[in-house]
Subunit: 518 residues, 2 copies
Amino acid sequence: MSGPRTPELALGGQGASSTGSQDEDTADGIQSSHRMLSFSDALLSIIATVMILPVTHTEISPEQEFDKSVQKLLATRIAVYLMTFLIVTVAWAAHTRLFQVVGKIDDTLALLNLACMMSITFLPFTFSLMVAFPEVPLGILLFCVCVMAVGAMQALIVVYAFHRPHLLSPQIERSAHRALYRQHILGIVLRGPALCLAAAGFSLFFYPVSYLLMATVIFLPYVSKVAGWCRARLVGPREPPAHSLEIFTFDLHEPLSKERVEAFSDGVYAIVATLLILDIWNLRTSEARPFSEDNVPDSEDVKAKFHGSLVAALGASGPHFLAYFGSFATVGLLWFAHHSLFLHIRKATQPMGLLNTLSLAFVGGLPLAYQQTSAFARRPHDELESVRVSCAIIFFASIFQFAIWTTALLQEGETLQPSVRFGGQEHAFMFAKLTLYPGASLLAFACTCVLSSFSTAIFHAMQIAVPFTFLLLRLLVRLALAGLRGLRGLRGPARPTHTRPVPGATDDAQSPLLPAPC
Amino acid sequence: MSGPRTPELALGGQGASSTGSQDEDTADGIQSSHRMLSFSDALLSIIATVMILPVTHTEISPEQEFDKSVQKLLATRIAVYLMTFLIVTVAWAAHTRLFQVVGKIDDTLALLNLACMMSITFLPFTFSLMVAFPEVPLGILLFCVCVMAVGAMQALIVVYAFHRPHLLSPQIERSAHRALYRQHILGIVLRGPALCLAAAGFSLFFYPVSYLLMATVIFLPYVSKVAGWCRARLVGPREPPAHSLEIFTFDLHEPLSKERVEAFSDGVYAIVATLLILDIWNLRTSEARPFSEDNVPDSEDVKAKFHGSLVAALGASGPHFLAYFGSFATVGLLWFAHHSLFLHIRKATQPMGLLNTLSLAFVGGLPLAYQQTSAFARRPHDELESVRVSCAIIFFASIFQFAIWTTALLQEGETLQPSVRFGGQEHAFMFAKLTLYPGASLLAFACTCVLSSFSTAIFHAMQIAVPFTFLLLRLLVRLALAGLRGLRGLRGPARPTHTRPVPGATDDAQSPLLPAPC
C-alpha cells in the first residue's frame, strides 16, 4: 500500500536523494522529516482554528436583542480570531520555508522543533491579552517575547543544520555559496523577531509605534506576496537573476510544498468538523442547554420536565442534531471540493497559498455558523441574522476556493494537470463542484432577503439539497453539457473555440458555461 | 497471482490502465486514496480523544474532599472515555482494513467515506447515553443504529468498489476469486452490525443480552488478536493455508499499514497537546478560574483584586502556565519517543498495533494529568493523589511504548531496521529513549510514597529534568556504554556475545544494559 506513495512523498518533500540509503541514514541518527512536518502541520492547524471558540461561546441571553453591544463584542472576538489565524499561518509559512532548506532532521532538530511549536502555541494567548488590554504594555511585551522565542528557535535550527551540512536539502548542501545562504536565511528568520524587539522597546514609552511594527511583522509577507504578484501581472516577470541567486530563488521564493499545504488544510478541516462535535458534547455554555455537564440529558431533568421519557428529552434537542448534521455535511463537502481541487493542482503558487489561507480562515468560522443555526430553537427572533451570517461564512469559504482555481487557471500550464485545464475533460465538472457552494449560499442569502419569514427553512433546504447535488453532480454536468451542445447545434455548426492540445478531450463545449453563474 | 487481466467493460474504454499514468486516472475521476485516508485518520483520532474532556471537567468544589462519590463519578467517566477510545479504534482498524482492499477512490467513494465518518462521530454520544441511562433501551438502540449505519456505509463502499474493479487493490483486482473476496469482506464488515441488530432486538425485552452482544462487537477483534498471537507463540505458526487463502491472508490479516498507524498516532498526540491549550483558553469550567470567558483576565477583576496590575493577575495563574509547559513537554517528548520508535520499525504487527492503541489511550488521558497538576494551587490537600494519578498515566503511556519495542524485538528480523536490532548500533540509545519516561515516572511515584509532603516539587522536578535528559541522552548513553565497557575490561576480556551481521556495528556492549532498569 505504502509502496507507490513513497516516491511521491519524496518528490513533494525533500528531493530525490532522501530515500536513497535510508538504513545508513537512520543508523546515523538522521531521519526523513516527513512525519515531524505532518505533526507540526496538525498542531499549527489546530492552534490556528481554536480561537474561534471564544467567538462561538459569546453568551447571549434569550431576552437580549442582537444589538449593538453584542455586535461589538462579536466583532472584537472575530477580529482576534482572524488575526490569530493570520499570525499562526505566517508562522506556519516560515516553518515550511525553513524545512524546505533543512531537508533532514536528527534528534536535536526534532527537539528544537518541539520547543518552537510550544512557543507558537502561546501566540494566541498573548494576542488576546493585547486586545483585552490595549493600553497595557505587558500584552505587547509578551507577544514580542513569544515571537522572539520562535525566532530564536528557528535561528538555532538554521545554525545547527548549517553546522551539519548533510541535514540540508541537497541543492544547498552541494552549493558553493553555503555561507551566503546561511546569512540570507538567518536574515529572513530573524527579521520578524528584530522588529518585535524594537516593538517591545517602544511599548514601554509609546505603544502605538509597537502596534505599527507588529502589524508589519504580520502583514509583510502577505503584502509583499500580493505586491509581487501584481507587479508580475502588470510589468511582466522580472529579468532572470544571476546564477547563484537563481538557485536560491528556487529554495525560498518557490511555491510552498503542495503536500504541506494539503496537510495544513486537512488539519483545519478535521478540527473544525470536530469542534462541532465538541459543541454538542460539553462546550455549550449557554444557559438554555438541555444537557448536563455529562453531555447527556440529566436524569433529574428527564424525570421532572419530560415525565421520565428519554425520547422526549432527546427530541427537545433535536434541532441541535439536525444542525450538527448539516454543518458536518458542509465542512465535509468543502473538504471534498478542496481535495478534488488539489488533486488537479500540480503546484501551489504564492497567491494560491494566500487564497487558501483566506478560505481556511472562513472554514474555521463554520462552528460559528453551526452555533448560530443551532440557536434558532431558542432565539427565533434573530433567525434572519443567523441565517445570513451562516450563508456569508459559507459563501466566503467557498468563493476563495473558487478563486484558487481561477488563479491556477491564469497559469494553467504550470499549475494544473492537463485534464482540468481550460477545455480539458474534467474542466466543467471541476467548475460545477467549485461553484456549487458559492451559488447555493448566495441563492439562500438572496432568498432570505425576499422571503425573510422562511429563512430557517431556506437554510435547511440548502443544507439538505447540496449534498445530494454533489452525489448527482457528474450526471447533472453531463446533462447540462448535452443540453448546451444541443442548443448550440440548433443555433449553428459547432465552433471549436478554445481547443487545446489535450489528448482525449471529448467535451470541449464548456466554454459557454463559464460566464453564466458568476 | 497472474490471473487474466479483467476486461474493462463499460468504462468508456479509458480505465484500462488503472496503475498506469496518473493523468489518465485523474481524468477518469479515479484518485489515490492517500489524502482521504489522512483526513479520516485525523478525524478519527480527534473523536477518540475528545471524550477525555468530560473527565477533566468533572467539577470538584474546593470544600469537597476527593471522596468516594467523586471517585465513583471520575471512574465512570474514565470508563466511558476508555470504551469510546476502544470503539473508535475498532472502527479505525476496520476502516484501515477496508482501504487496504480498496486501493483507489473516486468521488462517490469519497462521499460515502464522509458519510461513514459522520456516523462514527456519533458513537461517543450514544455510548455516554448508554452509561447514563443503563436501563433505558433507547441508548442501546441508538448505539446499535449507529453501528449499523457505519456497517451499511462500509458495505456500500465494498459493493461499489467491487462493482468497479479498477478501484480495488491490484492483488484483488487481478485475482480470479474476486467474488469470494467480496463475500468474505462483506462478512467481516457486516459481522458487527448483524450482532448489533440482534442486540437492538434484545434491548426491547431483555437488555443484559444486548450488553453481552455489544461487548462482543467491541472486544472480538482484540480478543481474537491476542488469542491468535498467544496460540502462535505457544503452538507455533499454523500450517500454510491453501493458495487462494494465502493471497487473501496477505490482504486482511497482515500488519496494519504503518503509515496509517503513524497518522492516527500523530492525530492523537496533536489533539492532546492542543486540548491542554484549550484548557488554558476557555474550557476551564471550574469555579476558581481567574480568567473570564474571554480567556484573558477580566478587566473588572484586575482592577478589583489586583489593584489594576495585569502582571499580578497573570502571576496568580502562574501555576497554570507552568503546568502547561510541563504537560506540553511530556506530550511532545512522548511523541518524540514514538516517532523515534516507528522510524526504526519496518512494519507494525497486530500485537504492536494493540499495544500502540493502549499507549495512545493513556496519552489521551494526559490532559487529566495536566488538569490535576494545575489544580494543585486551589486544592493543596489533594496534591498527593493528583501527583500519583499523573505519574500513573505517564507511566502507562510510556510503558506501552516500551512494550511495542519489546514485542518488535521478539520478531526483530521482520519488524525492525538492522541498526536497532539486539546488538545493533542504535539499540542502547533507543532503549534509553524508551525507558526514560517509565523510569522517571516510576521513580517520582516511589518518591511520593516516601516523601509525601514534597510530592508537587518531585513531580515538577521530574517534568523539568526529563526534557534536559532527552537533549543530553546521546551523550549520557555514550558515557554509560564507555563506563560499562571499562568495567567489563577490568573484570576480564570482552566477550562478543550477540553479535549479528550488522555492518558498521561499533557498540556491541549494550547487552549488560538490558536487564538493569526493568
